[in-house]
Symmetry: C2
Subunit: 327 residues, 2 copies
């Protein structure tokens, strides 16, 4: 009989393993912010996806647990450094590390987390070590490149849609892709299945980010978990804004630009006005169409993976619930 | 016949390999500061030591070249982040990355260098991969801990000599130790020889830092390469200052404290006055004695390494010239 873990069971394994990490070493000034950062929670999507992907090919997921936690520590390291760069005061409604302590502590705690992540990722079978590390390092570089592109976009006025897709691919999607691929490798998948899982994750990650862009404007406040219109208020170059700027006529473009460059504004009024421009331009439907493209592509890769439908059930349902949230 | 490379020949190999690193990728905002950081120069001590250590046990050093460059990239990453934390405007007389660009660029370029370093370090034989990476990660964590201790010391008034030795061990010495050890592993050394090389490097690194503390006060300006008395001006807790605070009587301690806490002072006058207190307390001789202890210990470990004297000649002479600089 096949042993397929439920997503909840995998999630529990991940939480237990994170809580069991030996992070009480000295100097405590270094390890306390690391414990704080990892205890902030979050959905633990990446390690759960890694284990679920491993479980597609293997009944035993224990041997993949360290690598899974490693990717979560890596993800939290990137959040920690990104929060410094973005000057973000809060994450998940709690003070960010650089706010609670200071920038220096946040830089160094992040660096240390990155080493810890690498140590965890390499706790896998010798025969898979090099391939796992190559995927991990390639992805880590890409995530840095994505963050740089995101920072560049803040001062570039004519970001194109393909440039935007490239940025979110690097900054967000490749880490989901790597989680799936590393899980598959550790589960003993055939190379083509591991590759298909990578592309499943990459397209799913892009779809997820596009959905996040849509929900920022059209989500329901209690389900979205963030402030509705936050991207509009901060002039974030999301798919919606870039598409609007691309297709708007001279007058609508000027109207949008007036809001973007307004030195002072009422937040509610701005969100309302920009949303009305989006509605006029049918941006929500266009964004959904783009989302659909990646969503369908994602599952077309998953379909190719040579594993029984029964075995695929858990990963299918979590993926669908992640990128099919109710608005 | 044995093939022993001269230190100069190894240095040249290192420079060529660093120049050949593929760092012209996009986004250029990320890769330009990385090229700048690596082109700043420096003595390339760590990669040269790694290759020399490999060459003790093996005629072929080519297979260790990537790991050697990896440690140099890692070292430069730590300098880059340390410079942000220390608010240092210059390094090797050139503007630091965060000064020439900005903090965000410096954080992200550093992160990327760290990944590149790890990618290079793992370019070694499969049979040695895990051991090399374990040494590398353990060392990387320790370097972060050392930097944290160094930052802690800025606000602690009663740093003890053992605490200081622990800090310089972590911040400086273990990376020299790891260079020797990884070189030995890649050269095919026996485990006990690799361990002896580690302790040789660790003690050498501590001796090197103690000598640096002495030269800051007693070096000749043209040979030292830094401003004489720089540590005194900035109240840096060096071995000399900590020893002086430890052995001074009430009156001399007060005299020292007055200079340390003086809100305004003439730099030349301060350096002269503190140096005179050091002279009165015989600090130079005491520091030299401490230096000697680690220097002798270093070479006692090197003596145990089971390799011919002829083969040891190059590494012996570079080590002696590094920690036996004329004042």
């Amino acid at each position: 009989m096949n042993k397929t873990y439920s997503i909840d069971a995998l999630h529990q394994k991940v939480e237990l393993a994170i809580n069991a990490l030996p992070l009480t070493k000295k100097p405590q000034e270094l390890y306390e912010p690391i414990r704080y950062s990892l205890a902030m929670g979050g959905k633990r999507i990446r390690p759960v996806m890694l284990l679920a992907s491993c479980n597609l090919f293997n009944d035993n997921v224990e041997d993949a647990l360290n690598a899974a936690i490693g990717l979560e520590v890596f993800h939290n390291f990137t959040l920690l450094h990104d929060d410094i760069m973005d000057n973000a005061p809060l994450r998940r409604s709690k003070p960010t590390v650089h706010t609670k302590w200071n920038n220096n502590i946040a830089i160094l705690a992040g660096d240390t987390m990155f080493v810890k992540a690498s140590e965890l990722v390499m706790q896998c079978d010798d025969s898979k070590l090099r391939e796992v590390l190559e995927t991990y390092h390639k992805t880590a570089i890409e995530v840095c490149e994505g963050q740089q592109l995101d920072m560049n976009f803040e001062t570039i006025n004519n970001v194109s849609i393909p440039q935007y897709i490239q940025m979110i691919t690097l900054k967000t999607a490749v880490l989901v892709a790597a989680s799936f691929k590393i899980g598959a490798i550790l589960g003993g998948a055939l190379p083509e299945d591991a590759e298909n899982m990578y592309h499943f994750g990459k397209n799913l990650g892009i779809a997820f980010q596009l959905q996040d862009d849509i929900l920022d404007v059209y989500g329901s406040p209690d389900k979205f978990g963030k402030q509705i219109g936050g991207d509009i208020i901060s002039n974030k170059k999301t798919y919606l804004l870039l598409k609007a700027l691309q297709i708007a006529d001279r007058y609508k473009k000027e109207e949008l630009a007036n809001w973007i460059f307004a030195p002072k504004f009422d937040a509610i009024e701005k969100v309302q006005a920009v949303t009305e421009i989006y509605n006029y331009l049918n941006i929500r439907e266009l964004a959904k169409k783009e989302f659909e493209k990646y969503y369908v592509q994602a599952f077309s890769y998953f379909d190719k993976v040579l594993v029984s439908e029964e075995r695929k059930f858990e990963i299918l349902s979590i993926s669908r619930s992640l990128v099919g949230r109710e608005e």
